[in-house]
Amino acid sequence: MASMEELTRLMRELEDQLIVCMKCGMCQSVCPVFDQTGREADVTRGKLALLSGLMESMFDDPEGVYERLNKCLLCGSCAANCPSGVSVQEIFLKARAILTGYMGLPPAKRLILKGMLANPKFFDRLTEWGARFQKLFTKPVNEIVGTSCARVMSPLIQDRHFRTLASVPFHKKVPYLNRPAGTSGLKVGLFTGCIIDKMFPQIAYSTIKVLEHCGVGLFLPENQGCCGIPALASGDLPTFHKLLAHNLERFAEGEFDYLLTSCATCTATLHEIWPKMTDEKNREAAIRLAEKTMDINQFLIRKANLQALPGPATKKRSVTYHDPCHLKKSLNVFSEPRAIIEANPAYKLKEMAEPDWCCGMGGSFNLQYYDISRNIGQKKAEQITDTGAEILATGCPACMIQISDMLSRSGAKVAVRHPVELFAEALAE
């Protein structure tokens, strides 16, 4: 767990961020979980009130708050719709770290942290004191790089309708690449992402193929780590910092104009979360890399000037597109993936109802609250099949896992693909 010093700092930051919520309740209109349950504790306004209440000692139930805080998809729909501009994801990630820290402490130490929860400012002095006893509060962290996603992946596969793991992960076949810029004059770094690496390597192959087609150079460092969002979502700040440091080091070896990922969640994490949740020593490097980070679809349309391929205007197969929350709501990317799909003459786009309503995946949320996750996902599956499209495309492999599960359960015959895969099909081998 994080050090006392770190937890105190986080709590002080939380105080100022929580006050921004004016309790208007508009988050109720977009929260996929609240839509299912109707419970105030499930919507952001309720969760923020619980955090404020806990910090102002209005009631005393950190365990109860922790449990309710984790019942959230971290989809960011509320933040995108918030009239006051509350930094919801940042607050939730910090609060999860604080409460995880608290929950992980033995009873005597809990008392101390509980005091801090109630009054962070008063406990400023404890920070020094805490630093001296830091060893008491921290336990050694295992080497997680490369394996940290196992906890996300393995339980998922158990009783769910799912494609199997790739027989050979992407990094085994393509461990390292360093190619100079081509006709575009641009060179990019490629952050693979765990799910693409282990479950959808074809997205990575397609990404490389399309970048080549556009004359873009590529740096793919060996031994990449997880983006860190699973660790952050479970409140494990030290693991996140470790992964961050590891990835910064990997990419420091190459030179490139942009850092691309083909995973919406990785992009949002690198671009939005890294600068906010980094530790001090990596702050500068994290911000620098975050500023270079871009979604593959966005890069291809905005920077690499990808052009639609010529082809017959007839016999088009229809594709419907699901907006991953972390692309549309976190990064405002929604027209570019659609443009990529339409750039292949074999496909035409057919919009579903509410394409930007969350699919209900939310990483570990899916494990903890599978019933709610499934109900949200089934609504999405119906909206997809209502279009009659043969293919569902989306820019996030996590959404692809959830939507595959839901479509398969409903017996639908709809293929689930990434926009870049669809475009790559049209390119010659």
């Binding site: 006050i19 508009m26 109707g38 419970r39 009130a49 009239p83």
Partner: protein
Amino acid sequence: MISDSIVQQFKTIVGEDNTWTDVTDLHTYSYDAAVVDPVEPGIVIRPTTSEALGKAVNLCNENGLPLTVRGAGTNLSGGTVPLPGGVVIVTNGLKSILEINEADMYAVVQPGVVTAKLAAAVEAKGLFYPPDPGSQAVSTIGGNVAENAGGLRGLKYGVTRDYVMGVSFFDVEGNLIKSGSRTVKCATGYNLTGLMVGSEGTLGVFNDIILKLIPLPAHRKAMMAVFESMEKASEAVAAIIANRIVPATLEFMDNFTIRAVEDFSKAGLPTDAAAMLLVELDGHAAQVEEDAVRVEALCQSMGAVSVRVAQDAAERDRVWAARRAALSALAQLKPTLVLEDATVPRSRIPDMVAAIQEIARRYDLTIGTFGHAGDGNLHPTILTDKRNHEEWERVEKAIDDIFDEALKMGGTLSGEHGTGLAKSRYLENETSAGTILFSSRIKRAMDPKNILNPGKIIAAKA
């Protein structure tokens, strides 16, 4: 403290899954959108049938438990803040649109139906439910009726009150009371519907509501007019009305709000403008186009610096995006936002805006004002930080003064947010001691144990 046996009875009525007594859950029903202190209830229940709703009300009465009904908790006057240890009944388990009758143009809904969802459902049938409170994306019809909610279309279409044809509600003993009808005309019995609209949960609990629908206007046109003084903007409003044109919406923003919106959304608004009017006309295409030309000319003759008429749907959306951004833009400036809704006869708007500016100076506060110029409903929005106690005292004084000014001009304390907790102590200033006494007698007759949302509208005795 609610006894275990009563908790058990609530569970029997609404089900275990719809009963919450955990301190942490209770805390999430201690507030609404008003800037008032939170109060934790003792139990929260969520009935999913009307039978369960009636039984739950009766159980509260039998045990003398104060009961507060809550829709989406977007109330801006503290009307949904419960009593300490009381009961909260959440209505979002009762969210069916029971009927949309196209031939007779009405809808019957349960209280937990979300306003915007109803509006969309009736629009899909070419019909129109005009009341559009700012919180419509989440607010419930039950809450709208209980608060007599308004919105942007008040000038032409009226407010929630004007669309309630009938209600059925549970009295405090859980008897189902019916009033009004599915017919346009209905002259039987007391007008209990009229009494229930705006009663803020103090007289009964809604079971279902019959709402009037009207044909959906075929055509819309929006425009934006910029003025160098509030007076000129106000004269333009008066001229539009004097020429017998009634726009669907006639909104204004003051200079502070214009600058905040521009900083926030970079919409290209003139930041040196003293005031802006946002106008939308709707109805038959020919008349809308004709009136649009007249409104444009009227604004210009009243000294508008510029008038921009939206040429297409996208431009129309931009006009309204600017208005919708007003609250957000102001909200981002300071941690605490106090949104008032003092309302004056429309001709007094320039006086009221000037008075608000004077009050802001007097107490050294930041107040942005926007609102519904067509119906005199202003939203002076005080930006502050509640943690700053010294400033908060000045805010409270400023609110008192805003109310005084509105009443002096023949206005009202609240155009659309309701009395609730926040304004109950001012109510006598607007009405009279006799009015409060009369109201208390009605309340006592209908709720002898004073369990229905006590302390709202009529202030609790000290």
